[in-house]
């Protein structure tokens, strides 16, 4: 006769009380599983919204580029990085950046030009779909060149009074020191993509960028997006290996050019978002503390009543030679079995709710747009139905049940057998 079986029988001695306790613990577990699912869904969505737009999981720059954004700090061998990304099955988008002036009619403003490969951006990121008006750049350099395509950030467009079809004059200082200027046509205006992009982004085809800046094909940034297939840390590690492996092959190269790149994950690139994401997880547990506490007190009450009713039995057991340890263990096991049963119930129901909410989601569109870090949030709130998200709160609940039983269990264990047996 196993301890678990005896515990199972013991908890059903008072069926109604146990049923009520099971319902309370199960309900708390259910609420927590669903809350964890929804909050996790929001957390993941929040990170995806930002990383999938342009940031990516990992970015590669020339060493020190992010500090001064010098036009001359180009990624040393971008092809090698792109090859490594391709080998790892990760999407990669190369980008070049340069500053200049844009004007429409007599309105002008400073802009940051993005030279992008539209096809790569489309594959790796969501940017190409984030247009308030018009469309993104054409994939082919010729088509883009022919219609002098340019996409503007939302606020930059507004301050220039630019509309679709507006003619834009770009004036920049080219790499060779000459003055580059070119005429473009606005083909698209972005939705809100964060303050920086909204105010300054002027996106053009990489080929147009090369001609405008006489940049000689410089690449300043390679953004990689695994789209959830591999963790950002893994992607970074693989690139690191690829870069240093290459460095070993070409020993003759000077040290700084051999590596010559900074490989950083989104957490390093956007510490604010990373902190927010972590705070989010922590606050979920903080919130759940209340539920654990309430459930724990309920269980403690049940176990106190259950042990109080059986004082004489514990007295007999101690008289027979049962150690306090054994009694403590038996009472704790009862609570464990009760908690396990209730949490499993809550977890199964919670998992069902999460699967539904992950599939159908909650439509928030009628409450207006939500922005995180200036990026528009998806209007459908979906739960994340992850195994950990369901197992973690359920497991903690079982632990809480056992902990809540320790006080009643210790009381039972410490009973004096003679007094307990004469207890009325």
């Amino acid at each position: 006769m196993g301890t678990l079986r005896i515990a199972w029988r013991s908890i059903w001695r008072n069926g109604r009380r146990t049923a009520i306790t099971v319902a309370a613990v199960g309900m708390s577990t259910l609420i927590m599983v669903v809350t964890f699912g929804l909050m996790d869904g929001m957390r993941i969505d929040m990170v995806h919204n930002v990383t999938h737009l342009v940031l990516g999981d990992v970015q590669v720059h020339a060493t020190g580029y992010r500090a001064d954004q010098s036009f001359y700090k180009a990624v040393p061998e971008p092809e090698a990085i792109l090859d490594a990304a391709r080998a790892a099955g990760v999407h990669a988008a190369p980008r070049a950046y340069g500053y200049g002036l844009v004007s429409v009619g007599h309105k002008s403003a400073g802009a940051r030009f993005w030279g992008v490969e539209p096809a790569a951006e489309r594959a790796a990121f969501d940017l190409a779909g984030k247009l308030a008006q018009g469309s993104f750049l054409s994939d082919s350099a010729e088509a883009s060149r022919a219609s002098r395509e340019l996409v503007l950030g939302r606020k930059l467009a507004r301050s220039l009074h630019a509309e679709l079809g507006s003619e834009i004059i770009a004036v920049v200082q080219a790499a060779d020191g000459s003055l580059g200027n070119e005429l473009f046509t606005v083909v698209g205006i972005l939705v809100s993509c964060g303050e920086d992009m909204d105010r300054s982004a002027a996106i053009i085809h990489a080929r147009d960028f090369e001609l405008l800046f006489v940049s000689g094909g410089r690449i300043h940034e390679i953004a990689l997006n695994a789209r959830g297939t591999v963790s950002p840390e893994r992607v970074a590690a693989r690139l690191e290996a690829a870069v240093t492996g290459k460095a070993e092959l070409e020993e003759k190269k000077p040290e700084k050019e051999a590596g010559g790149v900074d490989i950083e994950t989104w957490r390093e690139l956007n510490p604010a978002l990373s902190d927010m994401e972590r705070l989010f997880g922590a606050s979920m547990w903080l919130f759940s503390l209340i539920f654990f506490l309430a459930a724990g007190l309920g269980v403690m009450n049940t176990m106190l009543m259950a042990t109080f009713e059986r004082i004489r039995e514990f007295g007999v057991l101690k008289a027979l030679g049962s150690t306090p340890w054994r009694i403590l263990r038996d009472v704790a096991t009862e609570s464990f079995v009760l908690g396990l049963f209730a949490s499993l119930l809550g977890a199964v129901l919670g998992a069902a709710c999460n699967l539904y909410l992950a599939h159908a989601g909650i439509d928030l569109s009628r409450y207006g747009d939500v922005f995180v870090e200036g990026v528009a949030f998806s209007p459908i709130w979906r739960a994340a139905a992850s195994v950990e998200g369901i197992a973690a709160p359920s497991a903690v609940m079982v632990v809480v049940c056992v902990l809540a039983a320790l006080y009643p269990a210790a009381k039972a264990a410490r009973l004096d057998p003679v007094r307990a047996m004469t207890h009325v």
């Binding site: 006769m1 007999v316 008289a319 027979l320 030679g321 049962s322 150690t323 047996m421």
Partner: protein, 240 residues
């Protein structure tokens, strides 16, 4: 007279302190021998339960010496005492003897389980014992499905299962009718005679006293009589 199992010298037990001290035992000298079939009689409050509790280490004497199976109980720690009870003493109580969530079989096996006897060995012994106490075929019944007498039989089976040196029974027949009491006495006597189990039981019941091989009569915490149970004046002097 064989060798002694329990040995008490000048044992006293006081309850409470200050002005309201109850002197439950007032100097008990007693030796119990292996194979004894002894009854403790005496009026209510005379100290019968206290005596049994002191003997088993459930209670500590206020003064005097107690030894069981050659070990000085006053020197043992609480856990050593509980270990001693587990291995050397069998208990049958008046009521609430059995765990209600366990079957007759599981109750009888409980002490062996606590001792760590392997399941297969337990099974063999307990099934035989239940047969012996007349409960063959009832091993899967829960206590609520058994009569008072049958429950006490389970308790007796549990008490002898680990083959202890001594079985202490505090009013084992108080909650059953006289026919059942006689049958329980038959069983205890049979175990005493056939297996040599040493019994010490307390009782109020004259018919039960008469069955004992040795009668110890307590009055006010002192031994008033210790001898043959057949002696009628000993029985008559007891007011029940």
């Amino acid at each position: 007279m064989g060798d002694s199992i329990v040995w008490l010298r000048a044992v006293t037990k006081d309850y409470g302190q200050g002005d309201v001290v109850v002197r439950a035992l007032r100097g008990i000298d007693l030796t119990l021998d292996r194979g004894d079939f002894a009854a403790v009689a005496g009026p209510s409050g005379s100290g019968k339960s206290t005596l049994l509790n002191v003997m088993s280490g459930l209670d500590r004497p206020s003064s005097g010496e107690v030894s069981l199976d050659g070990r000085d109980l006053t020197r043992l720690s609480r856990s050593e005492l509980s270990r001693l009870r587990l291995t050397r003493i069998g208990f049958v109580f008046q009521a609430y003897n059995l765990l209600p969530v366990l079957t007759a079989y599981e109750n009888a096996e409980y002490v062996l389980m606590m001792q760590g006897v392997p399941a297969s060995a337990r099974r063999e012994r307990v099934m035989g014992l239940l047969e012996l106490v007349g409960l063959g075929g009832m091993e899967d019944r829960f206590p609520r499905e058994l009569s008072g007498g049958q429950q006490q039989r389970v308790a007796i089976a549990r008490a002898i299962a680990s083959e202890p040196a001594l079985i202490l029974a505090d009013e084992p027949t108080a909650n059953v009718d006289s026919k059942t009491a006689a049958a329980l006495l038959d069983l205890m006597q049979q175990l005493n005679e056939e297996k040599g189990v040493t019994f010490l039981f307390s009782t109020h019941d004259r018919k039960v006293m008469a069955r004992a091989g040795r009668l110890i009569r307590l009055v006010d915490g002192r031994i008033a009589y210790d001898g043959e149970a057949g002696s009628l004046e000993a029985l008559d002097a007891d007011e029940g």
